[in-house]
């Protein structure tokens, strides 16, 4: 009763088609963005930014990418780590070969290359479905990592096999490399993530998103009404790989500073899959919520015993942390299999009725 969304009428098509038609949503998102831009960099410590906020944003982007593929287009894929690696290594090659090009442009180019690679590895999706496709995408995961390990050209023949982010500037401020401060990197990441999340939201509202959802729900029926399944699936793979490649590039250049192939191993693929399942398949907000959960929870669990004043041997602590993580995943799935996004929806539904119970 107090939270009323009613009475908001639109008088132009543009207003009706806006991404956040309800003014409460608009306010909420604006406040969140304002806090993220102005409050967090000022108040948060370097550790908080470096260990929590930046990876959260980067993985949200990767989660959005995977959500487009799995949640909207219904193609189960476990090759996320490989595509992130493509983005990272291609950025490294391009920026070391052409140091003068703005690093953001390089990110986008690397994303395009990742999209192309994703397109190729998405070809089996016409024949293979379900878990078979998931395991088949593992082929792309392992092959890409093997290639980046083996072919020395990718890491400029240096003996360590790692790629390091060279210092790059934008508008006179250093944004990559060890000299870049955590706040600057955080702000750049935030901008990129907001822009691309917005693009993703619009993609899924449009014709492309609807064709993805049609293919997901019933691909034979979709084919009958004229949606071309092969093209649709391939575009899903391409767009998803673009996002994953972009987030991989950001991971190395704006967060870690350097990486070897181990940073993109199958654990990352599973991590991003967790994020979208816990966050909610088929939901952009869900990607953010899931990333918060998966990135924040281990840090919370690691620091919790100290906060409570409990001192435990560190390996016991780690074991309990792992067990708790696993149990919480199971618990979440039992209680809300549609993810945190669904919980958010239910919360808003309850809010509309509040303070009445029904």
């Amino acid at each position: 009763m107090l939270y009323r969304e009613t009475g908001q009428f639109k008088i132009s098509y543009a207003a009706d088609q806006s991404v956040f038609p309800i003014s409460q949503d608009r306010w909420f998102v604006s406040v969140v963005i304002a806090v993220a831009f102005f409050v967090v960099p000022v108040l948060a410590s370097e550790y908080l930014l470096q260990a929590v906020m930046i990876p959260l944003l980067i993985f949200s982007l990767a989660a959005i990418g995977l959500n487009l593929l799995v949640g909207y287009a219904g193609q189960l894929s476990l090759g996320t780590g490989g595509f992130m690696a493509v983005g990272a290594y291609m950025t490294y090659k391009l920026t070391t070969a052409f140091p003068d090009i703005n690093i953001i442009i390089v990110f986008l180019l690397a994303g395009l290359i990742a999209a192309f690679v994703g397109l190729i590895f998405g070809i089996p999706s016409l024949r293979i479905k379900g878990f078979y496709l998931a395991v088949a995408t593992l082929a792309s995961q392992f092959f890409l990592l093997w290639m980046f390990n083996k072919v020395a050209w990718f890491y400029n023949y240096n003996s360590s096999g790692t790629i390091t982010a060279p210092p790059r500037e934008m508008f006179g401020v250093i944004i990559t490399g060890p000299m870049a401060s955590a706040e600057i990197r955080y702000l750049v990441t935030l901008c990129i993530v907001i822009i691309f999340a917005f693009i993703a939201k619009n993609l899924v509202r449009g014709r492309l998103g609807r064709s993805w959802m049609a293919v997901r729900d019933m691909d034979i029926a979709a084919e009958i009404i004229g949606i071309r399944p092969f093209q649709t699936k391939l575009i899903a793979f391409a767009v998803s790989s673009f996002y994953c490649g972009l987030s991989g590039a950001m991971m190395v250049f704006l967060w870690l500073g350097s990486a070897e192939t181990e940073a993109f191993s199958i654990n990352e693929s599973f991590n991003v899959l967790f994020m979208i399942i816990i966050g909610g398949l088929g939901s952009i907000l869900g990607s953010f919520l899931g990333a918060t959960f998966i990135v924040g929870l281990p840090i919370l669990l690691t620091n919790a015993p100290q906060m409570v004043g409990l001192s435990m041997p560190i390996d016991m602590q780690k074991h309990i942390e792992i067990m708790l993580f696993g149990s919480l995943i199971i618990f979440f799935l039992i209680v809300e299999p549609h993810g945190l996004a669904r919980l958010w929806q239910i919360l808003k539904e309850k809010l509309r009725l509040w303070p009445f119970p029904y």
Binding site: R127, Y132, W146, M218, L273, I320, I322, M323, G326
Partner: protein, 314 residues
């Protein structure tokens, strides 16, 4: 000239190698077959659970590790080997019971991917729990299985590998007989076919699931013994699941003979690729080659070699 050189290297030289050194080729093939059976041992656990409960149990790798850890832990505590084996089996049965009670029951009608994720959560839990109980050190596993190598016609064979292959074959045989000729086996096949119908004729779903997960746990224990004797029981044992996945998709998720045939194909294919074509590209291609091989088969049979045909209705 370059092209001819390249073609020669890729297509002619390896074949020549295989033909002119047949003894070594036989050794490679046999070793591939033996490795393949070891992979199938792990894949069997996946197949059993998928057949009966429709769950792609990613935790099978962790179950292999957990079972082996329990066994070695009991032996370290001083129990005689036979008692430790029995206790390890009992622990797996209790684990199956707990999984059914606290996880499967609440996820009955959920989508496949939710169940898959839940098993990944279970993987974490088992890894942490196993290490917490028994420690993270590597533990040697020696059950007195003979380990000598001997030569037969120039081909080197190892008693242990043969023993492992033999037990794998016996296990598959026993399971096949079990599924076809016993009452419980028939009940399992009924449940695999249609949960609702099976319940309608009075088959208790809960009990069946506990039985299946226990059998998968037992298969995991056998796999854990075979792999653990090679490398000592340690965390990396749970990563064997990743090597068994290509076997699974090649053979089909729902077929026990498929797991064996798939394992043999993957094992041989992997070894041949690594030894004859690996050096051309710098080696270590086994991992992704297995997946690419399985993928190639899948393109022709999307449900795996022996899997159930996927029938889609509009």
């Amino acid at each position: 000239m370059e092209i001819i050189n390249f073609l020669n290297l890729v297509f002619v030289a390896p074949i020549e190698d295989m033909v002119f050194y047949p003894i070594f080729f036989t050794e490679v093939v046999i070793s591939g077959l033996l490795t393949g059976i070891m992979y199938s041992l792990v894949a069997l656990g996946f197949v059993l659970i998928f057949k009966a409960s429709g769950v792609f149990n990613f935790a099978q790798g962790a179950m292999v590790l957990f079972a082996a850890l329990n066994l070695v832990g009991f032996i370290e505590q001083g129990f005689p080997i036979w008692l430790a084996l029995v206790l390890a089996i009992v622990v797996m049965i209790i684990l199956a019971f707990l999984i059914e009670r606290f996880m499967l029951r609440y996820l009955i009608n959920q989508e496949d991917i939710i169940l898959f994720m839940a098993t990944i959560g279970l993987t974490f839990f088992l890894q942490g729990f196993g290490e917490m109980l028994w420690g993270s050190n590597v533990k040697p596993l020696d059950l007195g299985i003979p380990n000598q190598s001997f030569e037969v016609g120039g081909v080197l064979l190892n008693e242990f590998d043969l023993f492992a292959a033999g037990s794998g074959a016996i296990l598959v045989g026993v399971l096949a007989v079990f599924f076809h000729y016993t009452r419980i086996g028939r009940a399992l096949r009924a449940v695999a076919d249609d949960h609702q119908a099976a319940m309608a004729v009075g088959i208790p779903l809960k009990t069946i699931w506990i039985i299946v997960w226990s059998v998968a746990g037992f298969v995991g224990l056998v796999a854990g013994i075979m792999w653990g004797a090679k490398s000592g029981v340690q965390f990396s044992l749970s990563l064997i699941a990743l090597k068994a996945l290509p076997v699974l998709i090649l053979g089909g998720f729902t077929s026990v003979p498929g797991a064996i045939v798939g394992g043999l194909i993957i094992g041989v294919g992997e070894k041949i690729a690594e030894i004859y074509w690996g050096p051309l590209v710098g080696g270590a291609i086994e991992n992704w080659f297995a997946y690419v091989l399985a993928l190639a088969f899948l393109l022709f049979r999307p449900q795996g070699l022996f899997g159930e045909r996927i029938i889609e209705r509009v």
